[in-house]
């Protein structure tokens, strides 16, 4: 009976109800987008860093991984030391450098990654075969690189390193064979990258005699030992920057703090707009139907029931708006994410809007609770209407 009265009352003015639901849906969509935005980058960053399970990163002193072109020199003793640590499961050195290949008459520039096949945390194989330890002639290519150069698995390629820009002559060359197509986890959208054995890439890159690495990824056997292992490495190797992923996320978060504050302010504004919308429309509705509520009270309907009736109308409105808002919010988030992640240099794995169940549930619940709370005042008005006076006024 209550729900019949509630739903049919809302359909008394279908256009008005539809407009209010649409308004709540827009507010809910904005709220959801802001909730996803406020934590989305941080979550996708953390997910990207942990995607292969390496919890610690070593980078050149004073930098973050891939932050600059700086190198860690003399990496071999550091790697030997790390591999000897009983808490360390795997060690993955990475060297990033510029490479070139001739495609017809043109020179194609590539990002080259040197990796250790026994401990790589840089890519995921999509087709073909992975490198195996000791494979000094194998090459892994990203989809954009393969597409740009027209490579197939099994093709033989002459990689050129340390190119002189004046003479266009390379100081180092290496003939390799394409073994597989991979997705490099830190690549920007469309980035042309290739991967080869770490030592091969050292010989093709700058400063071949310096035994350099851009970064070292470390996988610790037990998650609860990560901080102590990171601290131990930092104490032992003072020439490198040691960060756990958790610490990197904290640093990343500190860079995003204004961004997050802005998101939260906008989320709060959208919530307030939703509250005002529900509160205003229900106050108008109650004022129009005050005689009806007085009659209900007159025939013996308790105040609490009248309060429930009005609040149920608020609940139905906000539930419908919240459902619409989730759909609209996810659609707009996908659209906005496509725009924002197309910024040059941004890793393709980074998302600004991460649609997680908890974020969606939080936004929907926040809108619902706020909407129901907003119907409190009109419900109070309906329940407190003086019966005799209202009926007298209605009869005149």
């Amino acid at each position: 009976m209550t729900w019949a009265l509630v739903v049919r009352s809302l359909f008394r003015h279908p256009v008005r109800t539809a407009l209010v639901v649409a308004g709540i849906a827009v507010a809910a969509a904005l709220l959801l987008d802001m909730v996803m935005l406020s934590g989305g980058m941080e979550r996708s960053f953390s997910r990207m860093l942990l995607s292969r399970g390496f919890q610690i990163r070593l980078s050149p002193k004073g930098t973050l991984p891939f932050d600059t072109e700086a190198m860690i020199p003399a990496i071999t003793p550091i790697l030997d030391d790390l591999r000897a640590d009983p808490d360390v499961e795997r060690v993955g050195p990475v060297l990033a450098t510029s490479l070139h290949v001739r495609v017809g008459d043109s020179l194609l520039t590539l990002v080259g990654y040197g990796v250790d096949p026994a401990g790589q945390g840089l890519y995921e194989l999509e087709a073909g075969a992975d490198l195996v330890p000791g494979d000094s002639t194998g090459l892994l290519v990203s989809e954009p690189a393969a597409a740009a150069a027209g490579w197939q698995i099994g093709d033989t390629i002459r990689l050129q390193g340390r190119l002189d820009p004046q003479s266009a002559r390379a100081e180092a060359e290496r003939v390799v064979t394409v073994r597989g197509v991979v997705r490099f986890l830190y690549d920007a959208r469309g980035q042309r990258s290739v991967g080869a054995d770490f030592r091969v890439m050292q010989r093709l890159g700058r400063f071949p005699d310096a035994d350099p690495a851009s970064m070292v990824m470390v996988k610790v056997r037990a998650d609860d030992r990560v901080d102590s292992v990171a601290a131990r490495i930092a104490r032992t190797h003072r020439t490198v920057e040691v960060n756990s992923v958790a610490a990197l996320v904290v640093q990343f978060r500190s860079r995003l703090v204004y961004f997050q504050q802005l998101s939260l302010i906008l989320a709060t504004i959208s919530l307030v707009v939703g509250v005002l919308l529900v509160g205003t429309i229900l106050t108008i509705t109650v004022s129009e139907r005050i005689g009806e509520f007085a009659v209900l009270r007159g025939i013996g309907v308790r105040r609490a029931r009248v309060v429930r009736l009005v609040m149920a109308e608020g609940a139905v409105l906000t539930a419908a708006g919240a459902i619409g808002g989730v759909i609209l919010g996810l659609a707009t988030a996908r659209y906005l994410d496509a725009i924002l992640t197309s910024f040059p240099g941004l890793p393709a794995a980074i998302s600004f809007f991460v649609p997680e169940r908890t974020a969606i549930a939080k936004a929907a619940v926040a809108v619902f609770v706020a909407g129901v709370a907003a119907s409190g005042y009109p419900a109070w008005l309906a329940a407190r209407a003086p019966i005799a006076e209202t009926l007298r006024a209605d009869a005149e």
Binding site: M1, I299, R305
Partner: protein
């Protein structure tokens, strides 16, 4: 058995800062099964008295008992419960819930009283048949004529088998023929033992009621029993 016992009832309203006495010491006793018309000119206090009798408003002074229970001092919930179970209201403008069907309107006070779905459906069907609207049960209030709406209002008033039915100008919005049908229904209610108090301007209605209380300036001017109909 006494249904209503009112002694020296007064009601004073504050109107634009001015005190207006709507009732000035009305004493009235209504026994079970009585059929009573309250008449009088506009502003004589008829509707105010009806609202006091139905627990819609509280007297400023005096003593009022409904079914032997003092009304003054009852909490809002107690008064609401009294209206739900002991009093049935019939309004001049019917005041049905326009979004509900005739059956749902009759079921409304039953649902509020906690009557189960099946029982209230049966009771509503029985009452709608009683007022001659069995075939209109599933029509929305807005799809009914004025006379039909008033019949539904009567069925709703009877839903919880109240001790007292109060009707405020029940034929005021109806044409003569339809009003006559409502009056016949009231006669039938009276014959069935329902205690019925009707506020009316309608001399035709008042003339067929066994007891007539005439109010003038907030006081009972005449309280007379008809000798014959």
């Amino acid at each position: 058995m006494t249904v209503v016992l009112g002694q020296d009832l007064t009601k004073v309203y504050s109107l634009n800062g001015r005190q207006v006495a709507a009732l000035r010491g009305v004493s009235l006793t209504i026994a079970a099964g009585e059929y009573l018309a309250i008449t009088g000119p506009s502003g004589s206090g008829k509707s105010t008295l009806l609202q006091l009798l139905g627990g819609l408003d509280s007297p400023t002074g005096g003593r009022l008992e409904l079914m032997g229970r003092r009304v003054e001092g009852l909490s809002d919930d107690e008064l609401t419960d009294l209206r739900l179970r002991q009093v049935g209201f019939i309004f001049q403008r019917f005041h049905l819930m326009s979004v509900l069907t005739a059956r749902e309107n009759v079921e409304l006070p039953l649902a509020e009283a906690g009557v189960g779905r099946r029982e209230r459906s049966e009771r509503a069907a029985e009452l709608l048949a009683y007022v001659g609207l069995a075939d209109r049960a599933d029509h929305r209030a807005t799809q009914l004529s004025g006379g039909e709406m008033q019949r539904v209002a009567i069925a709703r008033a009877l839903a919880n088998r109240p001790a007292l039915i109060l009707a405020d100008e029940p034929t005021g919005e109806l044409d003569a023929a339809t009003g006559a049908q409502i009056l016949e229904l009231f006669d039938r209610l009276h014959q069935d033992g329902v205690t019925l108090v009707v506020v009316t301007h309608d001399e035709h209605l008042a003339a067929r009621v066994p007891r007539r209380v005439h109010l003038l300036d907030g006081r009972i001017d005449r309280d007379e029993l008809a000798t014959a109909r």
